[in-house]
C-alpha cells in the first residue's frame, strides 16, 4: 500500500496560496523527487491559477515551464491540488478528472488533493485536503493509504499567517500579469526555511 508524505515547503506554499485568495478557487501542481519504492513525498509545489482553470493556453505554458524546472532540479510532477471557492464542495469535478488523467499520461503517479475548506486553519492540526489518486483503471478514487506531514508544518503555517506572508507568494497567473513575479517563489522558499528554523523545537 502506498504511503504519501508532504514536506513543510510544499504544504506551506499551498497554504499561502489559499490564504492569498480566500474568495476564489485555486489550484497548483505538486512536485516530488522520483523514488523507486512505492512511497511519494511532495517536496515542493507550484501555485498555478486563481481564475479560468479550464483554459488551455496558460496551462500548456505553465506545464512546459514547470517540466523544465523539474528537469533542472531533479523533480517530477506527481500531482496537483485544487481548492473550490464554494465552501461545501469537496469532491473532484470533471476538470480535476481531466487534469489527473493528463498528469497520469505523462508520469507514473497522479494524485489529486482536493482542499476541504473547513479544515484549512492550521490550528486544526490535521491536513486541509483529501487525497485522490488516478489509477490505471482511469478512475479517480480516494486514496486509502497513509498521509504524513513533516513535523512543524502546522506551526510554520501559523507563523506565516501571523506575519501576513501570504502576499509574498506568486502563482502563475501573477507571473503572466507581471513577468517580474517569479512563479518558482525562490525568495519565499528562503523565507519559509527561515521561519522553520525559528519555530523548530
Amino acid at each position: 500500500m502506498k504511503e504519501i508524505s508532504i514536506g513543510k515547503l510544499a504544504y506551506s506554499k499551498l497554504f499561502l496560496h489559499l490564504a492569498k485568495y480566500p474568495q476564489l478557487s485555486c489550484n497548483g501542481i505538486l512536485l516530488s523527487k522520483p523514488s523507486k519504492n512505492s512511497s511519494v513525498k511532495f517536496v515542493d509545489c507550484v501555485p498555478l491559477f486563481h481564475s479560468s482553470f479550464t483554459l488551455a493556453p496558460a496551462f500548456e505554458i505553465a506545464l512546459s515551464q514547470i517540466d523544465s524546472y523539474c528537469q533542472q532540479n531533479g523533480l517530477v510532477i506527481s500531482g496537483f491540488y485544487h481548492a473550490f471557492d464554494n465552501n461545501n464542495q469537496t469532491e473532484p469535478n470533471m476538470m480535476c478528472y481531466k487534469l489527473a488523467e493528463k498528469l497520469k499520461e505523462n508520469g507514473d503517479v497522479s494524485f489529486c488533493l482536493i482542499v476541504d475548506n473547513s479544515k484549512i486553519n492550521p490550528s486544526n492540526r490535521e491536513p486541509c485536503f483529501n487525497v485522490y489518486s488516478f489509477g490505471d483503471d482511469q478512475k479517480l478514487k480516494k486514496f486509502p493509504g497513509n498521509l504524513n506531514l513533516e513535523e512543524g508544518t502546522y506551526e510554520t503555517c501559523e507563523k506565516l499567517l501571523e506575519e501576513n506572508r501570504f502576499s509574498l507568494i506568486n502563482d502563475f497567473d501573477n507571473h503572466l500579469d507581471d513577468v517580474k513575479k517569479d512563479w518558482r517563489n525562490l525568495k519565499l522558499n528562503e523565507n519559509i526555511s527561515a521561519v522553520e528554523s525559528l519555530s523548530a523545537k
Partner: protein
C-alpha cells in the same frame, strides 16, 4: 444578508422575494438572490436565473463575466464564448476580453480564430504576455497545416512573439534558470526555417 452569512438561505430568499414584490427591477436584490443560489451550489438554477437577469440588464458587464466564468467551470466553451462576444461588442477596445476570447477559441481547437483574436489583443496592448504566449502557441499549432504564404506569415509571427517574450524576460533581469525554462518552451514551439 445576515441570513446568508449564517447559511440560512431559505430565510434570506424570503426577505428578497418580499422586496422584489414591491420592485421587480431592484438589481441589487436580484444579484443577492443569485448569490444565494451560487452559495448552495445550485449551478443549473444559478445559470438559468443569471440568464434571466441578463435579459433585464444587458449592459451589466460583471454579470456577463460571471456567466462566462460559470460556463467555463462547467466546460461549456461555446456558451462561454457567446458571453465574451457580448462583452467584446460592448467594449471593443478592451484587450483582456479579446485575449480571453482567443483563449477559449484555442481550448476549443479553433486555432485560426484564436490567432486572429490574439493579434487584435496585441494591437491594443503589445505588452499582454498571455496574448504573446497565445500567439506563440497558435502559430506553432497551425504550422503543420499551412505550406503557403500563410505558412510563412505564421513563421514570422511565431518568431516575433518569441522575440517579444524574450525581451520581456530580459527587461526584468530574470535569472538564468527561468530563462532556460522559457527557452526550452520555445524549442518546442518554434517553427524552424527549414520546415517542409
Amino acid at each position: 444578508m445576515r441570513f446568508e452569512a449564517k447559511e440560512d438561505y431559505h430565510s434570506a430568499l424570503e426577505i428578497y422575494e418580499s422586496i422584489l414584490e414591491e420592485d421587480e427591477t431592484n438589481a441589487h436584490v436580484l444579484k443577492r438572490k443569485l448569490v444565494c443560489l451560487k452559495a448552495q451550489n445550485r449551478i443549473n438554477d444559478y445559470v438559468r436565473e443569471l440568464n434571466e437577469y441578463l435579459k433585464l440588464f444587458q449592459a451589466d458587464h460583471e454579470a456577463w463575466l460571471e456567466l462566462c466564468d460559470t460556463y467555463l467551470n462547467e466546460m461549456d466553451f461555446a456558451k462561454a464564448a457567446f458571453c465574451l462576444e457580448e462583452l467584446i461588442l460592448m467594449y471593443p477596445h478592451n484587450h483582456v476580453y479579446q485575449q480571453r476570447y482567443a483563449d477559449i477559441k484555442y481550448t476549443q481547437g479553433q486555432f485560426d480564430l484564436a490567432k486572429t483574436y490574439y493579434l487584435y489583443s496585441l494591437k491594443l496592448n503589445p505588452n499582454n504576455v498571455r496574448s504573446l504566449y497565445g500567439l506563440l502557441l497558435t502559430t506553432a499549432n497551425l504550422k503543420s497545416s499551412q505550406k503557403t504564404k500563410e505558412g510563412s506569415d505564421n513563421t514570422k509571427l511565431n518568431l516575433w512573439a518569441r522575440e517579444q517574450i524574450e525581451k520581456k524576460y530580459n527587461d526584468v533581469d530574470s535569472d538564468k534558470n527561468l530563462i532556460d525554462s522559457v527557452n526550452s518552451l520555445f524549442q518546442y514551439l518554434t517553427i524552424g526555417k527549414n520546415e517542409k
